[in-house]
Symmetry: C2
Subunit: 280 residues, 2 copies
């Protein structure tokens, strides 16, 4: 595996690969890799000639008071994991390499899809860095986890509307044996919070069962989510919502494909999880 720290070097390398007719798969990450990231890399490995993984904790998608400084980092460990996963190239730039002094160019997806659930400006940071990574690494396929479902939706909309010459592949959520969705932020949880955090997946499963049993009213499903999460003493619900799975539009009566999306805080740690449920 080759490691690149400068845009110029990896962009030239990727251009060379393309000239040789090779397909490129890109897995953008913020590092501190877990099995979820490795599932993305494995999917890329199975579908592309060349697999590039980027590791970059992107400051412009964090808000004031969020955990940019504290976000866990371990590049040496990550690098070993990627080497073992058969990744061809690791791109790990510095903040100054990605955002030089005077930086001012941004990519933004506007509307309901980015205004809901998230802090204003968060997705502008995401779509900007992902656009940069697309232009730098020239992927044919780019792999994103279903765990951040809204992020995947926003990036798919951006790719379609700005006509990026590539395809987004969504990879399912990878969970611990007990059902907790894998996350780099899980390391923040103390043992007690770690066991309470199971309410995220449990509430999603209960909501699914209710819908499968015929429940179509989103208010009642929302109440069920809240009640289940409420059994955990430390859980603070940031959101527990049911939206159209394609547009993130509000849904009153469940019909077609809906996204059940959660964000829950345990102390200062914010975890997300989601489930797509389809009904006829």
């Amino acid at each position: 595996m080759q490691t690149f720290n400068t845009i110029n070097d990896i962009q030239n390398w990727c251009r060379d690969q393309k000239r040789q007719g090779k397909s490129i798969g890109l897995v953008p990450t913020m590092g501190y890799l877990h099995a979820g990231h490795l599932a993305l890399a494995a999917e890329a490995r199975s579908r592309c000639d060349i697999v590039v993984v980027s590791i970059f904790v992107n400051p412009i998608q964090f808000g004031v008071g969020e955990d940019f400084e504290d976000y866990p980092r371990d590049l040496r460990r990550d690098s070993n994991l990627l080497e073992q996963a058969g990744v061809d190239a690791l791109f790990a730039p510095s903040v100054r390499e990605m955002y030089p002094v005077g930086y001012g160019s941004y990519v933004e997806v506007t509307g309901e899809i980015t205004e809901k659930l998230s802090r204003p400006g968060h997705f502008r940071g995401v779509t900007t860095v992902v656009s940069k990574l697309f232009n730098i690494c020239l992927p044919d396929l780019a792999f994103f986890g279903q765990k951040d479902a809204q992020q995947a939706m926003v990036i798919e909309k951006m790719v379609k509307e700005l006509n990026f010459p590539l395809q987004i592949i969504r990879v399912p959520i990878i969970r611990e044996a007990d059902g907790l969705a894998m996350s780099s932020r899980n390391v923040y949880l103390n043992p007690d919070q770690r066991s309470q955090a199971l309410v995220l997946n449990q509430s999603l499963q209960k909501a699914r069962e209710a819908i499968m049993a015929g429940e179509r009213d989103t208010d009642r499903v929302r109440n069920l989510l809240q009640a289940t999460i409420g059994t955990s003493p430390e859980a603070n619900v940031d959101y527990a919502e049911i939206y159209d799975a394609t547009t993130l539009a509000d849904v009153k009566e469940i019909d077609g494909s809906v996204l059940i999306a959660l964000a829950v805080r345990f102390g200062t740690t914010r975890l997300i999880d989601n489930l797509i449920v389809e009904v006829q």
Copy 2:
């Protein structure tokens, strides 16, 4: 010359050209071509294996009350001119092809470089459509006229900061025999306005002469521009400014490379012109 109307068709065609190892030059235009556009196409022809010209009057860069509806259009004439110029592909999409219902993705260059001289939002329209055209046509080189100097600067900044895998080539202003900068909007001028419009180039030349003779004070150069333009009874100055030619920062004492930029209205017709002057 092949003509394409859909994004999908030209993107696939351009991808094929790249796979065959050919370099692509892109000339983005709004059509109603004149010798300035043809100079861009000729420059592209001399430097690239494949030359693509786009013709698209981009609604999102026009403000309310501007001339989007009235902007001159003649696709048949343009197509013949491009055929004669040895262009390989013309891309002429509809507005709905470029901006389908629900469209919401934008590219923006923020800061002094876009806030000066132009209506808020204008350059967001320009950088969005140009990003789309880059992603669609996959150019190695893209050609822009020096006539809209600020536009060229903004696009260069965007390409650098968003890491587009291509290079911008600026092509000098092409003028009529009497010095008027070529513009699709010149057709709006009545004969009297047409002759008065010479004050743009004349004032730029006078300013250059003054600077070459030792003038370093931008206020005095600005006054000279205003006085010269003021000799035309119908001219309304939108701006007549002197800025740093790289950053568009304000300049008090002329030093290094400065951009002298004009926008002047004759009736409802707004013309622009500019000159870069270098001093030691």
